[in-house]
């Protein structure tokens, strides 16, 4: 005889639970965790390395690089003097809490104020998988086009900060900033946004100053 068992459980609840454990681990070390998401080629790694320069030693940070394969990104970060750990997902389209759990333990958090996690380049999957960081950031680069908020609404809805990057390319590619921002506003009203170019440095200081204040305020409260 068939009988029904009521479950009412979130499908990703075990990932969410482990994400909370990761969060606690960061809290205990007083390290603010940031999850950076973007499509492939948006310039996440360059943005992170240039952030180091703009911070000018005001925050000590480490990175965890997520990619399907290779250590190209963590090698770049290490070459810039940033403690870095590479996660190769081996085909998975996102980082999850289990992967982060392994990676954070190989960094010496007592040396850090901030942990930046560079998620797998993808505008769909990472947003569904909490990893335990305190803040989600989306990097949207100008050459991707101004229609991305309309095409990938989930990515824009699930973040606390938006970085509009590669603005040095605005003269060369069709990109209607007003149309783009209207799409974002509908999905995430009042979203904190920085408009910058990691290449020329334009806008980087404003972002770095904001980040220093954010991390320091959090660490004092934590």
């Amino acid at each position: 005889m068939t009988s029904r068992i009521e479950v009412t459980e979130k499908i990703l609840s075990s990932n969410d639970e482990l994400a909370l454990i990761n969060r606690k681990y960061l809290d205990d070390a007083n390290v603010f965790g940031v999850n950076i998401m973007a499509s492939p080629g948006a310039g996440k790694t360059t943005f992170i390395i240039k952030t180091l320069e703009s911070l000018g030693g005001r925050l000590k940070f480490g990175v965890i690089e997520g990619d399907l394969a290779s250590s190209i990104d963590s090698d770049k970060a290490k070459a810039a003097g940033i403690p870095a750990v590479q996660i190769n997902t081996g085909g998975e389209c996102h980082l999850d809490a289990v992967m982060l759990d392994g990676a954070i333990k190989s960094l010496d958090l007592s040396m850090l104020d901030l942990l930046i996690v560079e998620n797998v380049g993808n505008l769909v999957c990472p947003i569904n998988f909490k990893i335990g960081t305190h803040m989600n950031i989306l990097v949207a680069s100008i050459p991707e086009g101004d229609d991305k908020p309309y095409k990938y609404p989930g990515a824009y809805r699930g973040v606390e900060v938006l970085i509009i990057s590669k603005i040095d390319l605005l003269p060369y590619v069709p990109f209607n900033m007003e149309y783009f921002k209207k799409g974002v506003e509908v999905l995430n009203p009042g979203l904190i946004t920085f408009v910058l170019s990691a290449k020329t440095g334009e806008g980087m200081n404003l972002w770095a100053d904001w980040l220093v204040d954010k991390v320091n305020a959090w660490r004092e409260r934590n």
Partner: protein, 113 residues
């Protein structure tokens, strides 16, 4: 794209609950998935057949109840189902709106023997 991880989590939840109830087989799994959840039914079913093989959930039917998107306007309080691509409030045209339904990814119940 992440349907494999989702299918694995569904299987884990179903097996845990079936075991607690000392069930010998799982006949169906009833899911609630919001339209905004970025999941493709066919893809979940594809992975399901592979990963459930050899478990008491083998052959179980996944019943997917798709929850449509519902929004609330911050400015006038209107609750509405968005029309196509636009999330604008149909009453006051505000774009300060909030998703109140349509994000779900839940196992609601399982039918077992």
């Amino acid at each position: 794209m992440h349907e494999l991880a989702v299918s694995e989590s569904i299987l884990k939840i179903a097996l845990e609950n079936a075991e607690k109830a000392h069930a010998s087989s799982i006949k169906s799994i009833n899911l609630e998935i919001g339209q905004l959840a970025s999941l493709v039914d066919e893809s979940i079913n594809f992975y399901w057949d592979i990963i459930s093989e050899g478990t008491i959930a083998q052959g179980a039917v996944l019943t997917i109840n798709r929850i449509s998107v519902e929004m609330r306007c911050f400015d006038c309080g209107k609750v509405f189902i968005p029309d196509g691509e636009s999330f604008e409030c149909p009453d006051c045209s505000s774009i300060r709106v909030q998703v109140i339904r349509g994000d779900e990814m839940r196992v609601e119940s399982i039918d077992v023997e």
